[in-house]
Subunit: 779 residues, 2 copies
């Protein structure tokens, strides 16, 4: 590091002014980018849609980080928390040269500047916040709250990296951000990189003041010390006097980080540095317009002067504002940034705009995954063996963690054991910093199982980890996955946007393993039951979304391996954790999962001509369907029943709509074209109707699934309450077989009686009727 040097301060200020100039230009101009002509209405964009408020602060920090990188050769990544910081980040990566390298038409000359400005927040262009098209970014500034958790995810197992995360004071009010501060308790200074949080207080959101912005420094200091940071404050509105302060503050923070990383690690959480920076909203912009204060108020949030086309005096204010940055000193006649500015840019390989950590696919190493055959649950005949599917997958994941030490983590809201993933603790521990007591289990300062009671943190850490080129899995209670519905949504949008940018290399898929699912939350009750995440994933683009419902442990192994190897998807795997009959051996499971859905011949007696098709997707639906088939076949041996099991939900969709969708012929080979289908489904029945409405005679699909019924009860009563029990399925089947009409009545009476008896029995005995508990598949 170097002492504060007036010449470099001068260059820093020029760089800062250039960024601010380019930021304003992006918001307003479609031509005349360097104001070589007097500014006229025709130079102005028709719709003024960008955001100015946060940009100057972001520029100020970026400039100084460049200086720090020059002096330290540190590998850094910049996460932009404040919303609508697009103009700033685009300006910086443009001056660095990264923009031109990524988009050859955004040259460092007049035509490049003009296009840089015009494309911003413009049809055919880019959004006003940081987004996938921005080089150097792994974090979209659209939905707020996730910058800090992404930063922490990025530095896990990434000891070289410093993630500088600018947190906006608006964003700081969100729940996910508020709990992200606690991530420091999970960072091992010897193994992970470091996050340098910079809380940027400009005081206002869209129109109101911010909570942190109006807290006195004493309170903010207490808050962050309480969170376990060393906070330092910088405040001001005069760039000249603030330059040396930020210079020194960053030097201090950097030195602290290196100190923490190099001194002996005592196992306790580290007090990392952080910075609180107060500068005015819309800093260096117009002070006042039409008698109203602009700089330092919410009025500079978006476009501080919005009538520049209509109002001559406003146009003049804009021109003076832009000229206040002295563009003629910053760019030469051809539009190239001058050498003073370029002197601030770090060496090519260290520029934040081109860090490979922000294009994680560049760094992605393939996972080493053992052969699933080694974990096979031996199934001599269907239903003859009981196993807990997630416990079996846990063994595979254990060995993946052993083979891919610095490259794979499990993220889970304190449910690793509860979700029966406990085998992973044979090779690693729960990530924990602090004293470990005798009464603790599986805690480790070096553990790679990230447990915290926050689905937001699990999801956000995992996203940051994946986006920087690593792999992971998120086992979660099914119902509570909905907590991160919106994060799933935004990550899906990120992936979709990246698909359209060839320079963004594929990253590992985001893998959810939803267990402790609706059908076996009979003990925890209604609040813990909810298969709605299926619909959340279904809303994603078909190029990204994958949903799997493996019916048993061997299928879960196959699906799990497939998902962990895949790239750029959101994979939703749903599997129960409870002891369940196993149906397929490994060979059968591989075949079945490769097809995505197939006829289970051993459960069928239709010889290609079924009277009825009984289909299932999900482990409990499979169980009930097989039980229904056994009831029907025992009672009505002449009835021709076909059993179809669906693992890959999107096979049901037409091939034209999803790459996994079956073509008409394949679909018909399973489901026929006119035969009634009784479909037992893990989720809401609507999902199957939506997937099949384009198929031949969609009315013939009679779907049973979770209809938001059932609370604290028994496992079997859950399927009874939701009308998906074996008896319901059998009755429904008969109902659609006119030839059975004469016998159906008695059978229905019998089934109804059984269901009534069951209610009495379970309340009396607290467990399911023996007929159900002891049921075993027999063809």
């Amino acid at each position: 590091m170097a002492n504060v040097d007036p010449k470099r301060i001068d260059a820093l200020d020029a760089y800062f002014r250039a960024c601010n100039y380019l930021s304003v230009g992006q918001i307003y101009l479609r031509s005349n980018p360097l104001l070589k002509e007097p500014l006229k209405p025709e130079h102005i964009k028709k719709r003024l849609l960008g955001h100015w408020g946060t940009s100057p602060g972001l520029n100020f920090i970026y400039a100084h980080l460049n200086r720090l990188i020059q002096d330290t050769k540190a590998k850094m990544i910049y996460l932009t928390g404040p919303g609508h910081g697009g103009p700033a980040l685009r300006a910086n990566v443009y001056l660095e040269g990264c923009m031109t390298e990524t988009y050859p038409d955004l040259t460092q000359d007049l035509s490049g500047i003009e296009k840089l400005m015009k494309d911003f927040s413009h049809p055919g262009g880019v959004p006003s916040h940081v987004s996938p098209p921005t080089p150097g970014s792994i974090h979209e500034g659209g939905e707020l709250g996730y910058s800090l958790v992404h930063a922490y995810g990025a530095i896990l197992d990434n000891p070289e990296l410093i993630a500088v995360c600018v947190v906006g004071d608006g964003e700081a009010e969100t729940g996910p951000l508020a709990t992200s501060w606690q991530s420091n308790k999970f960072i091992n200074p010897k193994r992970d990189g470091a996050v340098l949080p910079i809380l940027h207080l400009n005081g206002y959101k869209i129109s109101g003041p911010t909570v942190f912005g109006r807290m006195p420094d004493t309170k903010i200091e207490q808050f962050f010390k309480g969170c376990g940071y060393q906070p330092r404050f910088i405040e001001g509105d005069d760039p000249k006097s603030l330059h040396p302060v930020l210079w020194k503050t960053l030097d201090w923070a950097y030195a602290e980080i290196r100190k923490k990383q190099s001194e002996p690690f005592d196992g306790n959480p580290v007090e990392w540095p952080m910075i609180v920076m107060r500068t005015p909203k819309g800093w260096t912009g117009p002070k006042e317009v039409d008698g109203k204060k602009i700089e330092g108020t919410f009025r500079s949030h978006q476009v501080p002067l919005s009538d520049v086309i209509e109002k001559k005096d406003h146009l003049e204010i804009l021109e003076n504002w832009m000229k206040s940055y002295k563009p003629q000193e910053l760019f030469d006649a051809a539009g190239k940034p001058n050498s003073n500015i370029l002197s601030i840019v770090p060496p090519k390989e260290l520029r934040m705009g081109s860090t490979p950590h922000a294009n994680g696919g560049l760094l992605l190493k393939e996972l080493t995954i053992p052969d699933t055959a080694d974990y096979e649950v031996k199934v001599p005949s269907p239903g003859s063996v009981i196993a807990e599917a997630t416990r079996v997958l846990g063994k595979l994941v254990r060995d993946i963690m052993k083979e891919n030490k610095d490259n794979f983590r499990v993220f889970c809201p304190d449910e690793t054991n509860s979700n029966r993933f406990n085998h992973v603790f044979e090779v690693t521990g729960r990530t924990y910093l602090g004293e470990i007591f005798d009464s603790d289990d599986d805690l480790s300062h070096e553990g790679r199982v990230m447990e915290v009671l926050s689905e937001h943190l699990c999801q956000g850490w995992l996203e940051g980890y994946l986006l920087t080129g690593r792999h992971g899995i998120f086992p979660c209670y099914e119902a509570f996955a909905l907590i991160v519905d919106s994060m799933l949504n935004q990550h899906g949008k990120w992936l979709k946007a990246c698909q359209e940018l060839p320079w963004r290399k594929p990253i590992a898929s985001l893998n959810y393993l939803l267990t402790s699912h609706a059908w076996r939350q009979d003990h925890n009750g209604y609040s813990h039951q909810g298969p709605g995440f299926i619909e959340s994933v279904m809303q994603k683009k078909c190029s990204i979304a994958r949903i799997y419902l493996p019916p048993d442990a061997n299928c879960l192994l196959e699906v799990g391996k497939h998902c962990l190897k895949s790239k750029n998807y959101i994979n939703l795997i749903i599997s129960g954790k409870q002891p369940m009959p196993q149906w397929l051996n490994m060979k059968q499971a591989k075949e079945h999962c490769t097809k995505g859905a197939s006829i289970w011949d051993w459960a069928s007696n239709d010889n290609g001509h079924p009277d009825i098709i009984m289909a299932a997707a999900g482990d409990i639906p499979t169980l009930e369907t097989l039980a229904a088939i056994s009831i029907l076949r025992k009672k009505f041996p002449d009835l021709k029943i076909r059993m179809v099991n669906v693992v890959d939900l999107f096979t049901l969709m037409p091939h034209s709509r999803h790459p996994h969708g079956f073509d008409e012929e394949t679909f018909a080979s399973l489901f026929g074209t006119e035969t009634p289908v009784i479909f037992a489904f893990h989720g809401h029945p609507r999902v199957i109707h939506e997937l099949t409405y384009k198929r031949s005679y969609p009315h013939r699909f009679h779907v049973r699934g979770y209809i938001e019924e059932g609370t604290t009860t028994t496992p079997f009563d859950m399927v009874v309450c939701n009308e998906m029990s074996r008896f319901h399925l059998a009755v429904e089947a008969l109902h659609h077989l006119p030839q059975m009409k004469s016998v159906a009545g008695d059978f229905i009476t019998e089934c109804t009686q059984k269901l009534d008896d069951h209610k009495v029995y379970i309340y009396e005995h607290g467990e399911d009727i023996p007929e159900v508990r002891n049921w075993k598949w027999e063809a």
Copy 2:
């Protein structure tokens, strides 16, 4: 208040022991409730499913609050944050007598105790966390993170109420809880009640330690001082010595609350008291079993001894444990709690188990809502007038706020102005405590517009406000409503469960106004576009879910009024905020909204015999559909087109599945039975397919909607990218009219050319083509 009195301490301890005894009994026993016989396996439940860990701490606090209520006559409500605190709360409200008053068979005698125990976490019984069946509760302990925000919502405009909120240290790790601490900045001590947060640190979650549990007191103190509280600590594992400490600490906290409420209010945020209580997890339970530490560790989270049926020594430990509470001293021979215990119960009307604030419907006052006619947008002819729908509704809401001063709030993530609800600021302000600067807008210490950049806080405050018997509305950017998907889910579950409990009186509906919607997030881009909340609401039970898509301002007024008057629903209203043509006058709007969907005769020329039906749900779909109709009718005057507009989405569902669903006849009167329908929809097309798949020939519904395309562009390009533009709709219509085959080709070429030209034009000019910008409806 009274000094610590050894006799009352003795009674408190007896009460505490009784609660603990009943808590353990609920987890284990199905008979022999007072251990009059030696404990045998047949007395034990078959499945042991409850949770012990948090219960004793909850009992300890509840007992002492009873004492405080006796001494102060304060009106209090108890919110149970920790998960699975069911046994504790059920024990307390049972001892208070509230349980028997609510459920006459849960008598204070042997048979009542037995049933109390047996019903817990048992088929046909109640969940292991606090849930709607628990008297005195407004907060479900299922999904964690919302206790504190509910507590704050409950006390808004509720000056008499003190909400005591026990926050678990697991729950404290969640994002929503982490930001809930900041709610203190929105509480006006002269107008609102008070929250007394008690952070209960028992150190463990399911299996790992907690973040707060392992933080040293110094850090915790800094954290809460930083958040603006006065924290006090109590810690121990000996009830006897802890009783006087909690007594005095609660006296201190109560005195501080009353002091803050009575001293002059200077406008600044108040430093309310809070308590941090460290007691062991599974306190007073078995210390050690099979050589493993139980009390004070994660092993007492759920059922500390799970093999009591199988293992004789475990059964013995259980018996000794239960007897350690000395049940024979606590209950008389008939099972009635003794007078010592009952001496701790507050006066009948002050018991927390029977506070009307926990059954808000009892306190609900009907809203006074002005006649919507007073706000009518005059529409001389369809499309002749431009208005911003949400701004018009804002006027109605302004006057509702004027008429219902203490009874209605707006909750919004800093978007009240952005969502054009600005008229409300004519009668109230943004709730704000602290110094107000000249540059601030519409801030007020007395304001009732709750703005914070956290959808979680908005939703949670509103839920707390509604559950305690008041009214409100939550205007939100459409895409970011998904942030609270899981909270919606849990509130929907709460409402559904309450419908089955006649003693729970109806509360005001939860009203969402989603605006700044997908189709007009052309400037903010892809991250801001997402109509998925429709699907979230559709997952709810039909008895609860309502979805409205008013096509213009007058319809929005009607829908808004209807929703604000309704009870026990989740109402989703989606309406744009941008200037849009208006279609219906007030009379027409009333008729149209009352029907839920109707034929717009002025846009139709079918005389009851349409060749094609053009349907729309949503404001932008309505605009594009009318434009498509005008194109088609101009080009092909002989074509018979019917226009159907759908406001109430659930009218499309069969009546058997939703109370608003049209019967077959009504449905056919709009949509025919065989005529092709081109349906333009606000959300994902799948939604319409799912709603209509049971209708006659569902294949004839050709739906266009949001298909996850479009980013920063123009409004019209959004519909182009998503293939829902007027040209797409017109082409699709022709495509399904075989008689038009000969002319369709030329028309398609023309439309394709227009769409190509449009792309060139918008990139060049930054705005939509004049043909679209200047389009006006003409029949």
